[in-house]
């Protein structure tokens, strides 16, 4: 019985991976760089690829924030699975809605 009790001196630091300020700083600089890049590229005419590049950079920034600032890289499998399922569900819903819209003969768009 005694063994099952938590140790009173247990602190979260013992099992949580502490991300160092160096990592946070690197990610911060990368995010600012990507912001400058996406802004700069928008001034270049790439046709339809303007939107593609902008969204690719936004997805990269999101990945950096989620993995490092939100600690998913260091979290347990349940949390990783939760995040992945959320993104998957969101993309599935968008995909199904868009496939409905583009396959109807409503015309004019």
């Amino acid at each position: 019985m005694q063994l099952e009790q938590p140790r009173p001196d247990e602190t979260p630091g013992e099992h949580i991976h502490i991300v160092s300020p160096k990592v946070y700083g690197t990610i911060f600089v990368a995010l600012l760089f990507l912001t400058a890049a996406t802004c700069g590229i928008s001034y270049v005419d790439l046709g339809v690829f303007n939107a593609v590049v902008a969204m690719a950079i936004a997805c990269t920034k999101m990945t950096l924030v989620v993995l490092f600032f939100m600690h998913i890289k260091y979290s347990n499998k349940l949390t990783k699975l939760t995040v992945a399922s959320g993104i998957f569900l969101f993309l599935s819903l968008i995909g199904m809605i868009m496939s409905d819209y583009i396959s109807r003969a409503w015309g004019r768009w």
Partner: protein, 255 residues
């Protein structure tokens, strides 16, 4: 939250025996351990964020569909936003995410002074974001681009009316029917940035509470769960803006 200290709990354990095992004051006693409490609340926070993804997802999907339907209206509507302020705000928000991440680190390192400093910086940057958003919204009010309240499609029937925008983009006049649809663009613009700003306001309010508690030393004695989970919320709001910024400001520069 009980303010009893760990020592008090230890003393209590001796009298209450196994029915109330010893635990730090910040550990709710229905949890086996601090680490279980952290995992459970962290998981719950992520579940909440998933519902937020679905909530903003509806707005993003509407934007996608409407932009395809009324493409010329969305392009010319977007030309009236300020890329300077949009980019500045993106940098402000990313910086606030960095200071928030550093707050979590300071809490983990049990450095009270640094924790309060980084939280206050995050608070100030959050307010700065809202102020800049306010400047932009004011501009749209002046230009009659607020749907429902103060809207005119004159700028889109005759693009030369707004000399600055015309000089940069040389927009062609839209047909009266299409010009009306610019209101759809500005409706979604206000709905998305407004809902995002509402999340910022909630976040700043919570930050005020967290700063108050952090000054009392509540998060530098091993209790990082609340700061960590609030950080997740703050970063999530940042991620939403990371997508709003290119969609609203950037991708319509070239048609």
């Amino acid at each position: 939250m009980s303010d009893t200290t760990i020592t008090a709990n230890r003393a209590a354990t001796e009298t209450e025996s196994a029915h109330h095992p010893a635990h730090p004051s910040f550990q709710r006693h229905h949890f086996e351990s601090v680490s279980q409490q952290f995992d459970a609340t962290n998981f719950a926070m992520w579940l909440f964020l998933l519902t937020e993804i679905m909530f903003f997802g509806g707005l993003f999907t509407s934007y996608l569909i409407m932009r395809n339907w009324y493409y010329p209206a969305f392009v010319e509507g977007s030309h009236h936003l300020s890329i300077f302020w949009g980019t500045t705000n993106t940098a402000v928000l990313i910086t606030s995410s960095f200071t928030m991440a550093m707050s979590v680190y300071s809490a983990q390192m049990k450095q009270k002074g640094k924790l309060v400093m980084y939280l206050v910086l995050t608070f100030i940057l959050g307010l700065a974001f809202l102020c800049i958003k306010g400047i932009e919204w004011h501009g749209e009010w002046v230009d009659h681009h607020v749907p429902g309240l103060r809207f005119s499609d004159a700028d889109f029937l005759n693009p030369k009316l707004d000399a600055d925008v015309y000089k940069e983009y040389h927009d062609a006049p839209l047909s009266p029917e299409m010009a009306q649809n610019t209101e759809e663009y500005f409706f979604l613009y206000f709905a998305m940035t407004g809902m995002h700003a509402l999340h910022m306001i909630v976040g700043i309010g919570l930050l005020g509470f967290i700063i108050f508690r952090a000054r009392q030393g509540a998060y530098t004695s091993g209790h990082v769960t609340f700061v960590e989970n609030f950080g997740l919320y703050w970063h999530f709001v940042d991620v939403i803006w990371i997508f709003l910024y290119p969609l609203l400001y950037l991708i319509s520069r070239h048609t």
